[in-house]
Symmetry: C2
Subunit: 420 residues, 2 copies
């Protein structure tokens, strides 16, 4: 093992869409690695994710104080920057992998920690293979992260629990607002949430409906083809029963032909197709067919950056996974990812598990059918039992002058050693 001869350096990168707790994983990783000064050399982080390695923009984490690193635990978004750059297969893009290894070698990198979703776990796995082939052995450890909660083999993914909490809290609050005024004002409220391919986030909104009549009354999942008639009947019936109807709609809802509703053909005055937003499409349909007064909200990035209402469980798990990644490296593990293993539902208990990266790579965990009610418009008790612990607990950031105090790192780049 390389670390026997010489202390090897660490390279950590954030990948893909950022979350309100990805920096908590970075915090867990850096704080843990800093405790093992005899085992590890320097810690570098990729500026803007893996692009930081490819462009040799390595952030020297030693320039950050212990206080700043601690503050990462309560800071949303990606403190070192992230990107959506996906490395292709070795056959298709050998040069990019060689470049990665060249930069790693130049900076004596022995550990590659990649914090991301399924694409990133695939990349980490490929880098592990390539490094062996090129005779530059490298410890490659994945750290799970995605608000979409679609990684297999882990109870859940850091980032998801906090989005889930945001969505459940928001639809509860907005639902109460609509209920207050529905006798003379808005009858239908639509909250559009993320999750283009899997309905986990939309499902989380369902947690707010604890008692009969509570919002949301309807959830639209990407897994369930949108049937206009059944939907309109449900809206009409809900408004007649409760006086209003509040719903959570996934951005990924498709019609029966498999086409996104958000691409339903809205055009601007110049005839251009208008991009994005399934909420206004649903709102228009409700107005045209039921003539009900509506309001809609699109949470967009607000939901995944809302560190002010993060789930404590999520923050703790994100931190623990960053910590576990370092411990895995210390234990000589390679080409693996730490996971969350649920050992008990009520009370919720969990521990760290592990899975080979090759198993995680490029797989998608969809919402099981048993989590959606038969009519397709809500979540089942089984789904509630799965989701509920993930939003439990509050973990408020510190405030000053009424605003959360998030850290901005120095992000000092290490001197370059390779040709660009």
């Amino acid at each position: 093992m390389p670390k026997k001869h010489l202390k090897k350096n660490i390279f950590y990168a954030q990948s893909g869409g950022v979350t309100s707790v990805i920096n908590a994983s970075a915090c867990g990783l850096i704080e843990t690695a800093r405790k093992y000064k005899t085992k590890f050399g320097k810690i570098y982080a990729g500026k803007d994710g893996i692009l930081g390695a490819l462009n040799e923009n390595l952030i020297d984490v030693s320039k950050e104080s212990a206080k700043s690193i601690r503050a990462l635990r309560h800071t949303p978004a990606g403190a070192f920057g992230s990107c959506r750059h996906k490395l292709k297969s070795l056959e298709e893009n050998k040069a990019e992998y060689e470049r990665l290894i060249e930069v790693f070698a130049a900076h004596n990198i022995g550990y590659f920690f990649y914090n991301g979703g399924n694409d990133s776990q695939d990349t980490a796995h490929k880098v592990s293979i390539v490094s062996k082939k090129m005779g530059y052995p490298l410890t490659c450890i994945g750290i799970p992260k995605t608000i979409d909660n679609d990684l297999p083999y882990t109870d859940n993914c850091p980032g998801f629990g906090s989005v889930a909490k945001y969505v459940a809290v928001s639809i509860r609050e907005a639902g109460m607002d609509v209920a207050s005024m529905c006798s003379s004002s808005t009858k239908v409220f639509i909250l559009e949430v993320m999750g283009r391919h899997a309905g986990w986030i939309a499902a989380a909104g369902g947690l707010a409906a604890e008692q009969s009549g509570d919002a949301p009354h309807i959830i639209l999942f990407p897994e369930i083809p949108f049937r206009e008639d059944a939907f309109l009947a449900k809206v009409d019936q809900t408004v007649k029963k409760y006086g209003y109807c509040a719903m959570v709609v996934s951005e990924g809802v498709k019609n029966e032909a498999g086409k996104f509703l958000s691409d339903a053909g809205l055009t601007d005055a110049f005839g251009h197709t208008q991009l994005g937003g399934v909420a206004p499409v649903i709102a228009q349909l409700i107005k045209d067919k039921l003539n009900l007064k509506y309001h809609w909200a699109v949470a967009d990035y607000l939901q995944r950056s809302a560190r002010h209402i993060a789930s404590k469980t999520d923050v703790e798990q994100a931190y623990a996974l960053g910590q576990a990644a370092v411990k895995f490296a210390l234990a000589g593990k390679n080409d693996v990812m730490p996971t969350i293993v649920r050992t008990s539902n009520a009370p919720y208990r969990w521990k760290i598990g592990e899975i080979p990266l090759v198993k995680v790579a490029n797989q998608e965990k969809k919402l099981p059918k048993s989590y959606i009610t038969r009519d397709g418009f809500h979540i089942t008790e089984a789904c509630r039992q799965y989701l509920q612990p993930l939003i439990t607990g509050e973990d408020y950031p510190p405030y000053k002058n009424g605003l959360p105090q998030y850290v901005k790192l120095n992000n000092v780049l290490a001197p370059k050693k390779c040709r660009s």
Copy 2:
């Protein structure tokens, strides 16, 4: 005074768009009135606001426990229901005023507390006049409430501080998200907020920009006509300088011809005009003219119901104004509204003041010119000094299973005594 002869009852009603702290005013009013059992009879609340009086749907507040009333302090929306029903002038609709007095008389109401914006203060004033004319003397006290912050003669309006905090926190968080990924992904982020006629809410987003380069980089106010060229130049310049551009846009932004941008002519596939949403209009413009990748969010009701991130200052003032309304009644005042008077900026200090309802009625306080920077795209230091104290302090609701615990009242109606 009627209360000399016999204990008169109280009628309280919530009016117009609800907020995350209007129930805190109700809490202040009810808790205070309950302390004076020798002075006041029963407390009634209008079901769905003033409609509750017109339809004789009077909620008997004595059926609510002290614990439930206490919980109103941390519960958003309108616990008794609200409405947008505006009473016309006495000439236009004498019958409606007579009906109101008939119901009040039947239930021995001696005190009318009306919790709302400028329309409601106008109504409360008219009811006061009518009651005198009809020989049914009534104590009429207004309690200010509006997220729009457009009531004159009060430092600010309960409901506004919490929306302001929500918007400032949200644009800070979403701005950090965009900053993390802008090197390879979204370059422009647009957050649409409420405030159709006044830019107070949009201005509050500006508080998040404490250091050079912080989001939001641009604010679009309803007070400043939208100039496409200047706007696009500012976006382009911001993206070139900081790598991204995050902005807060008021739903009420108008073009130079005075037309709402949100009515800019989007049509669906059937040629219907699409309703609502200035954010997608701005996004489309940025794509067409600058070809930058964008995301947009529309906060809608989420912003005004977000009790989970309410401003402590706002909650305290809302409570104090409900309390003050009762004390005004005890002191024999009539046809007035308690106000917030700012006595010091730093540290922020305030006290309760008072203003005759006739002065408040139907007036609108717009954002002063001195609060908007010369280029029209941000707030000035004077604006920051005014706004900052209003978002200060957190006042978290209690949580259970990861969700805020808001109270749902019994809302038992008193037996009817009048013809319908």
